[in-house]
């Protein structure tokens, strides 16, 4: 299984917060911008790919024990999202890539 750190290095992701959680392992991924959908369908250890940048994202990530959050299209996470990421030790990354591109790359890496 791959760690978050390995994944982030392979994909050149920019870390915004939650560095303490970098050694966690990844079980898979979930791509969605609806929080209720993530509550219903994401699984423990998943990478969550989204364009949402507010602090409820971290509450949901923590609740579902997700591995990390990747924000697409170079969007900036809000300050309270970053501080909650640090509190919960769940890394938040930013990528310049689109949801489609980053999801495809992660899918290929995980399923190799």
């Amino acid at each position: 299984m791959m760690t978050i750190k390995e994944l982030s290095e392979k994909l050149n992701l920019k870390l915004s917060g939650g560095a303490e959680g970098l050694t966690n392992e990844i079980t898979g991924g979930y791509t969605s911008d609806l929080l209720s959908d993530v509550i219903g369908h994401a699984e423990q250890g998943n990478v969550w790919i989204t364009l949402q940048t507010h602090k409820n994202v971290m509450a949901i990530a923590s609740l579902k024990e997700l591995a990390c959050v990747i924000i697409v299209n170079d969007l900036e996470p809000s300050e309270d999202m970053i501080s909650q990421s640090n509190e919960e030790n769940i890394p938040v990354f930013v990528t310049s890539e689109s949801t489609f591109e980053i999801t495809g790359k992660i899918y290929n890496l995980i399923n190799k």
Binding site: S36, Q52, L63
Partner: protein
């Protein structure tokens, strides 16, 4: 015609994200200090704190529009207000039917409690109130109107949980009685950007989650009395009643 100053988007201690100081007593006290004529009680997906706030506010001569900030399936926040207890209860039944049975985690989201006038806890909601109902915006709008309520998309221009953030546009067939906007956009700007009818009623409220936010943003209603019938007339710009954005 008289002018009534109102803040119609106020959360109480029942909303997980609202401060624990947001008790009925404190909210009414703050509204009184700031000379509000009308307050709207709009917790996330619950109407259960409305009755107690209304009772407390009556003692101070402040009118309360009892309502809720409902989360649609598309995760759009919309304000809904109801005239009487029966309609409010019927809408609570509707929420209870469509709110997912997903438990709150108080450490992550905060407490969801109803308190009485003495700030004693009388109810705790165990389902997470920031979940989205399993009903879309059109279905919820229909239900609100079926119960003679008022339906207002909340902070419609905001970057998250708004009509614009979730749908990108205002659907042509949406039967909103008014739109609430934030201070980041002008009334004219919002109306022209979204090609709305120039007469559309636009409101601003505080969306208070903390006591000191109450009355920070208000809207004036020109009408005969601070009641629901007059409010509906004002939203529709009928019989000389109107909304005056500050």
């Amino acid at each position: 015609m008289r002018q009534f100053r109102a803040d119609l988007h106020i959360h109480t201690i029942l909303s997980p994200c609202a401060d624990l100081e947001m008790s009925p007593k404190n909210i009414v006290q703050r509204a009184k200090e700031h000379n509000l004529d009308i307050i709207g009680i709009t917790d996330h997906n619950s109407t259960r704190q409305c009755g107690i706030v209304k009772k407390e506010a009556l003692k101070e001569g402040i009118a309360v529009f009892t309502g809720v900030e409902v989360t649609t399936q598309e995760e759009i926040h919309c304000l809904a207000f109801f005239e009487n207890e029966i309609e409010l209860l019927k809408f609570q039944d509707y929420i209870d039917q469509y709110l997912p049975d997903f438990k709150n985690n108080t450490d992550l989201f905060g407490y969801q409690i109803v308190v009485d006038e003495n700030e004693d806890i009388v109810f705790e909601e165990d389902r997470l109130l920031i979940s989205a109902l399993n009903a879309d915006i059109d279905a919820i709008e229909s239900k609100v109107h079926e119960l003679n309520g008022v339906f207002i998309p909340a902070h419609a221009n905001k970057a998250s949980n708004s009509l614009i953030s979730q749908l990108g546009i205002i659907p042509r067939n949406l039967k909103a009685d008014a739109y609430e906007i934030t201070k980041h956009i002008t009334q004219e700007g919002f109306i022209s950007q979204n090609k709305l009818n120039p007469g559309t009623s636009i409101l601003r409220n505080s969306d208070a989650h903390f006591l000191d936010q109450i009355a920070a943003i208000t809207t004036i209603y020109e009408m005969e009395s601070p009641d629901f019938t007059e409010f509906k007339l004002a939203l529709n710009g009928l019989n000389g009643r109107k909304v005056v954005l500050q």
